[in-house]
């Protein structure tokens, strides 16, 4: 009986939603829910400053859209898919949230996008890395905006193999993101004539990496690749330095490093490390100008995720404005039809699988001599064009891709 009742109410409710969704903004409010790690390992790459970036975008947009007010709610994901799912469920079902922004840990994102699909709402993923988010886990209800593991592998791993690093040891964080990155890297290494001779999967988080560094040293590999993130990566790099990994002729490749990680390591420890990034604050006039404003508000330079949150929120609000609707599918379609040209991307494009493709950059951490201040950290080695950087649609396993 209760099940019948539930089914009926859901049916009626969804019928009403479809009816009212055509071209208006529900409740005369556009409500954005910001979900990110606000206190744990991934706090600094998105976190409270990501919320600032989101609020900057809303303020720059003017605070209202077609007369409707824009509201923001936020929550700490605690890197926990279960508690995050209940937060987002509450947002979508009881609090009329129209769009979920932020979205950092890949495991959280994959859980949340399923809910977004059930409720036909929209999510814009800025923090997560797993490329599976727009591959086997794609939904018509989310967009993956800043970067993913495919260009990370494609940028850094390709460059390192081409410089002669043929035999690889991969140290992987043992969860969705690490596995995705390990898979993408292995593919790139093998395609370019290299070989992965050993992988070790460490629990997340780990503070002592000496045991793994020793395994890497004794493996005889040319390259030791770190398929992890945040303090796991900085801890591993520090330990590699202490155990003289690079002095003994091995190359250290960090596959995902954020500006905040490099800042924490300092140029002394991090110099020479090659990394792939979706954006850097010191690329050009426009990025510098925006990052100066961000720094005024937060005291730090923005990561690519902060910039992506600002840019994607702007794109979202523009799409709501243009269509006069906050219906997920209407807005998503409008966003797909509009090329992205702003401080974040040039000719960025949202594909049918939800992947926003844009140019990526292969960067190298500056030496202490080159670095002029604490945030002057990268020199850009090469721009990786968008269509070369991301997984081509022809290889996609996403059910939304028309060829599938």
């Amino acid at each position: 009986m209760t099940i019948m009742k539930k089914l009926l109410t859901t049916a009626v409710a969804s019928a009403m939603m479809v009816g009212s969704a055509q071209a208006e903004i529900s409740n005369d409010t556009v409500k954005i829910g910001y979900l990110a790690d606000m206190s744990g390992t991934y706090r600094d790459l998105a976190g409270p400053n990501g919320l600032k970036a989101l609020e900057m975008a809303i303020a720059d947009f003017g605070g209202t859209v077609n007369g409707a007010k824009i509201e923001v709610v936020s929550a700490d994901d605690r890197n926990n898919p279960d508690s995050s799912s209940s937060t987002v469920r509450r947002w979508l079902e009881n609090e009329d949230v129209d769009m979920v922004a932020g979205l950092v840990a890949s495991s959280v994102t994959i859980a949340v996008t399923k809910l977004l699909q059930e409720n036909d709402s929209l999510g814009i993923v800025s923090g997560s890395a797993a490329s599976s988010i727009t591959n086997e886990h794609c939904t018509p209800n989310h967009i993956h905006y800043v970067y993913d593991t495919y260009p990370l592998a494609n940028g850094t791993a390709k460059a390192v193999v081409q410089e002669g690093g043929k035999e690889w040891f991969i140290l992987t964080a043992d969860y969705a993101f690490g596995h995705a990155l390990e898979g993408d890297v292995t593919k790139v290494v093998e395609e370019n004539g290299g070989k992965v001779i050993k992988t070790a999967r460490h629990p997340f988080p780990t503070s002592d990496f000496s045991s793994y560094i020793l395994q890497a040293q004794s493996s005889g590999a040319d390259v030791v690749a770190l398929a992890n993130a945040g303090s796991d990566t900085t801890n591993a790099i520090t330990t590699a330095g202490e155990f003289g990994l690079t002095q003994s002729g091995q190359t250290l490749a960090a596959l995902l490093l954020f500006l905040t990680d490099v800042h924490a390591l300092g140029v002394n420890s991090a110099q020479g490390i090659q990394l792939t990034t979706g954006w850097y604050w010191d690329l050009n006039e426009e990025t510098r100008a925006w990052s100066d404003r961000f720094m005024e508000a937060t005291g730090v330079r923005p990561t690519m995720v902060h910039a992506g949150i600002y840019s994607s929120t702007m794109q979202y609000l523009n799409a709501v404005k243009a269509t006069g609707s906050d219906d997920a599918q209407t807005v998503r379609k409008q966003m797909m039809d509009t090329p992205i040209n702003d401080m974040f991307a040039t000719n960025g494009k949202i594909r049918e699988d939800g992947r926003m493709v844009h140019d990526m950059y292969l960067a190298e951490v500056k030496t202490p001599e080159e670095s002029e201040n604490e945030w002057d950290l990268y020199k850009i080695v090469r721009t990786i064009p968008a269509d070369e950087a991301y997984r081509p649609l022809s290889e996609s396993k996403c059910s939304l891709v028309s060829s599938n």
């Binding site: 206190s39 744990g40 390992t41 706090r43 600094d44 043992d174 070790a200 999967r201 460490h202 629990p203 988080p205 780990t206 503070s207 002592d208 000496s210 045991s211 793994y212 020793l214 395994q215 040293q217 004794s218 945040g230 303090s231 900085t234 801890n235 520090t238 330990t239 202490e242 155990f243 003289g244 003994s248 905040t260 990680d261 800042h263 924490a264 390591l265 300092g266 002394n268 420890s269 730090v300």
Partner: protein, 295 residues
């Protein structure tokens, strides 16, 4: 080359040595917990936060005042130890004699607050701290490269562990301490200031945690959440060793370091769980822990 289960013996030696080094950290941290529990019956969930404060104090003192590692090695534990005594005096004293769960919840709350405040100020990415120049480089052993600093860690940890054990079990001060917590009224009658003794004991336990924090500063990412990651493991070590057993905490710490190190070599995915597996087995067979006195 001789192999054991597909791993060269030389590599295995290296892993054993690293296990002992990590075990020395566990020993140092669980020692403080064991002192606090054994003598004061307080379950100190703020221990991880105190370890973190030791490391953070080292970095902050260096950044702000240029205080070097050697000075920090003494000063940081003293500062954090004094902070611990304040917590004892203003908070823990008020719940003395209550069930253990009160001290557990109180110290857990304190830890979360300290961690939250520092996260707000410093973020979680970690702070830079360079290795003292003296420790740059390492020994080239046959089977591995041993950085000087790791050798220093194991040396210092063992000295402090042994010193603490000796002081509590073999000296007059230790006897006062043990007697004071056993029968406070009688000791008061002998003219011993028991409340001060309790404050000092808590402060000393906290100092041990902060000392481990200073040792960790040059090799681990120093950030406000570093203590919460290690705390649960250290508690497991104390439980395995036998709550309150000082020698038990030290020996079990070293043992667990080695077991964890070997797991990292043969089955890394399981390395964060192996200590808890040992804990379950030990509790089933010896509920009071390996070295615990029967309750």
């Amino acid at each position: 080359m001789t192999m054991i289960l597909g791993v060269p013996v030389a590599v295995l030696f290296g892993q054993l040595l690293l296990g002992i080094i990590n075990g020395a950290f566990y020993a140092l941290l669980s020692l403080g917990l064991a002192v606090i529990f054994g003598l004061l019956k307080i379950i100190n969930f703020a221990h991880g936060a105190m370890y973190m404060m030791g490391a953070m104090a080292t970095v902050i003192m260096f950044d702000a005042l240029g205080i070097n590692y050697w000075v920090a090695l003494f000063v940081a534990p003293v500062i954090v130890g004094c902070f611990g005594m304040l917590i004892e005096y203003f908070l823990l004293r008020r719940i003395a004699g209550q069930d253990h769960i009160y001290s557990l919840l109180l110290t857990f709350g304190v830890a979360l607050m300290i961690q939250g405040i520092l996260t707000n100020i410093y973020g979680v990415s970690g702070m830079r701290y360079s290795m003292p120049d003296l420790f740059q480089g390492g020994f080239k052993l046959d089977f591995m490269y041993l950085p000087y600093y790791r050798a220093w860690v194991i040396f210092m940890a063992l000295v402090v562990c042994f010193g603490t054990w000796f002081m509590i079990e073999k000296t007059k001060l230790g006897a006062y301490l043990r007697a004071g917590t056993e029968d406070a009224q009688l000791m008061q009658g002998f003219g011993i200031n028991v409340p001060l003794l309790i404050s000092l004991t808590y402060g000393f336990g906290v100092m041990l945690a902060a000392f481990a924090g200073v040792l960790a500063a040059p090799i681990y990412s120093v950030n406000p959440v570093m203590g919460s990651n290690i705390l649960i493991v250290v508690f497991a070590v104390v439980v395995i060793g036998g709550m309150g057993s000082i020698a038990g905490a030290i020996i079990t710490g070293l043992l667990m370091g080695v077991i964890e190190g070997l797991t990292k070599t043969f089955y890394p995915e399981f390395s964060s769980a192996v200590i808890f597996l040992v804990m379950v087995i030990v509790l089933l067979i010896r509920p009071s822990g390996l070295f615990g006195k029967e309750a």
